[in-house]
Subunit: 255 residues, 2 copies
DNA sequence: AGAGATCTTCTGGTCTGACCAGTCGCCTGG
DNA sequence: CCAGGCGACTGGTCAGACCAGAAGATCTCT
């Protein structure tokens, strides 16, 4: 142990822009720069950090690509602090999904796991107001069937988001949302239902939500989880290849 | 619908560096620039894209911060393409964990869900060589107990990685790894076990892996999932607050 | 001839200074 | 009071320069 204590670590060069980005990120994550606050102008940061403007700009680019800040030309107030957001997470998941590494099957299978867990937790831990909100959304969706498919889709997404948030785990909810978006992006275009099919699909969704709500009220975690898995299988099984369908079935069994 | 078709979308300015980054990212994600290949030198990219060097550099910074490429000063081959990796994901998770949005409890709870699902799938879908690899790793860990705690920890991480990969879902495996890293980062420092405690912990790990392997061989998905959840609870319950412990218990029940 | 030191020439990292097109606040003329 | 214009900012982009480091070529000494 003593010999380890005096051993040196290889010093790796730290770029100037990196240290600038780390300093600013630290202030944001610590809450010292809350969302909505403004960074000084670039030329002011140049003075404060005593580096060139290109260094400052590269640092700001990194922070911006992480979704921590947003800048707009001509804004006399400087870059806006956005705080931690799930956008970066969705972006990362999106990349994973878009790379040949993962196909639609893996994506849906992954979403099965996330949804099932959030349903299960929501059934066990939901608060009264969560349930009220979910019932409100479910009602609105029932009204929208055969009226406005687009609004129905949005309400559907909102329902799933609220359900995930009712699990009490914000991280789980964010990831579920990110994967939801990734699936939607992957299936975009393929999903071309005729009017009748769309209506049948909406009716099935409403029924599914009714069952999930019943499970939530009963506090039936495993039941809610099973419902979530089954609904995803029913929705997407027809869009994946044979091998992926086998995969999804495996995710369904014993669950 | 017709009225919608002729409506215009608000045009948002697209920065030059953004388009450069998108073009390069597209080539990487499509596989045209496989991992290990090299990008042209910056000055060459300046010529090809017909933009200034600072624009090129900001684009490369974005790609680098996403973990897609890596550049090294003086490298005559140009920036190296790394391909999609979970580093960006774990970085995003790390930020979420460090911000007040998510604490260690949520992180561990999330990991419970991912690990449980990957164990469950691995028990059902693993190939013979996966099992052989896992048994090899488990043996090596058993040898390392009380010899090299550091090497043991690495072998442990490798075991979990292989186990997640045996699930057949690369996306799930990458996310599990990212969350694993984020948890490790969040608990860093707090984890200061004495020699005896460390050895007891290692022995418990070996036993746990033995049980998991037995469940895998038996194809017992739910059993493997339960083992994974329980092991995480046992490992981390002492490090989280009372509220988070309740949360973890909820993730354990009925699973 | 082989091995080591030196040189050349590239790389990425950084800085400076400049210009442009926006955006906002102020101020003036109605 | 308000509309319009002026000016002083902003961020986005470019051009050119210098530096330290890395790699391969070259040279020198044994």
């Amino acid at each position: 142990m003593a010999a380890d204590a005096v051993s040196f670590e290889p010093v790796r060069p730290v770029r100037a822009y990196q240290r600038v980005a780390e300093q600013i990120e630290e202030r944001i994550l610590s809450g010292e720069l809350p969302p909505g606050s403004r960074l000084p102008a670039e030329r002011e940061l140049v003075r404060q950090f005593a580096v060139g403007r290109s260094t400052i700009r590269e640092a700001l680019r990194v922070l911006q690509s992480s979704g921590l800040i947003r800048s707009r030309p001509g804004d006399p107030l400087g870059a806006e602090v956005l705080g931690v957001s799930p956008d970066n997470l969705s972006q990362a998941l999106d990349r994973l999904a878009r790379s040949h590494l993962s196909g639609l099957g893996e994506l849906v299978q992954f979403r099965m796991a996330l949804d099932a867990e959030s349903y299960r937790l929501a059934a066990r831990l939901h608060r009264a107001e969560d349930l009220a909100e979910l019932e409100r959304l479910a009602e609105r969706m029932a009204e929208l069937v055969a009226v406005d498919p687009r609004a129905f889709g949005e309400a559907d997404a909102a329902f799933h988001r609220s359900l995930a948030e009712a699990s009490g785990n914000a991280l789980l909810a964010l990831c579920a949302r990110a994967v939801h978006d990734a699936v939607a992006g992957a299936i975009e275009g393929k999903l071309s239902r005729s009017g009748e099919e769309a209506e049948a699909w909406m009716l099935r969704s409403v029924e599914h939500h009714r069952q999930v709500l019943a499970a939530l009220r009963a506090g039936d975690g495993p039941g809610a989880a099973r419902l979530g898995r089954q609904a995803l299988y029913d929705h997407y099984a027809e869009y994946v290849g044979a091998a992926d369908r086998e995969r999804l079935r495996a995710a369904l069994d014993e669950a």
